[in-house]
Symmetry: C2
DNA sequence: TTAAATTATATCGTATGCGACATATATTTG
DNA sequence: CAAATATATGTCGCATACGATATAATTTAA
């Protein structure tokens, strides 16, 4: 009706996405505190638990973040001895990030986090499936869907 | 299969929500720069364009944020003269936030933002509707849905 | 009716997240 | 092969976002 309708919060897709991300992350924080991880550190560790060794560019692509966000964060995870950082000898531009044994041990404690949050009354199984599909459609917009996270 | 499956990035709902929020906000930033607004400042202004006058607690509830996030942000918007901040004389704990004429003028420029982003190949109309429903289900989890943003 | 509890903001410290730019290494090209 | 380009990471400054805690004003209750 009104030409300003597109400016109403309730007509936005971005705003509830932003609010949902804030809300879910807030919910994670107290659980992650027991692992001495922040939410962003946790998603990095999830990649590491799965891959064991990656380079920084891999992480940037997998996490849809920027190198300058990950860079200081990786150093913190190194200080916590959850991972190691070394230059690639083949191509000295690359940083090779590898899980340490201490980082691997953390995986055992971490499984409680998704299990405990799965109890939350977020969405039904069907809704969650559709929700994930729509999210990856947004995330991968403009690109070929070559992302293995979206299956 | 594996007991660690819940820790895989691809099995998470939180991660793609987080990634989608980051991605969409990155897309907004250059457009909002023309309005001298950040994304968070923009969502505050959307409330102000709709309501003209609110108090800080209203904003916190509407935006699903904390007062300590909004507080410095409101001061910046005041410095930009997009809104005014005054104590409520009835109840001096309350802050009354009001749109200024300069803030109202900005609304005219701002309508280009959602119109221009609507061109993006995000989701179909049907998908967007379902996506929004699922987001508000997450956001309002555990509460009665008394939120007028979710209709 | 004043002391306790509640409510609404404010302040502080930490950790992102981004754009802009700089640096180091590798690759391509003339 | 030397110069230009491209690629991967690093640095800086700014703006959130949060939990923890403090303060000010109001309401409740003993």
């Amino acid at each position: 009706m009104d030409k300003y309708d597109p400016l109403l919060l309730k007509n936005q897709l971005c705003f509830p996405t932003y609010a949902a991300a804030n809300k879910i992350i807030r919910r994670y924080q107290p659980l992650l505190k027991k692992l001495d991880l922040t939410y962003t550190q946790y998603v990095v560790m999830m990649v590491m638990w799965e891959k064991e060794v990656v380079n920084e560019k891999d992480l940037v692509n997998r996490l849809y973040l920027q190198a300058n966000t990950l860079n200081p964060l990786l150093k913190k995870l190194k200080e916590k001895e959850y991972l190691s950082i070394n230059k690639d000898k083949e191509d000295k531009r690359n940083l090779i990030i590898a899980l340490t044994s201490k980082g691997r041990d953390l995986k055992e404690k971490a499984i409680d986090v998704p299990l405990s949050l799965a109890q939350e009354p977020w969405l039904t199984v069907e809704e969650a499936k559709e929700y994930r599909r729509l999210l990856y459609k947004i995330i991968n917009e403009g690109k070929e869907i070559e992302n293995e996270n979206c299956d």
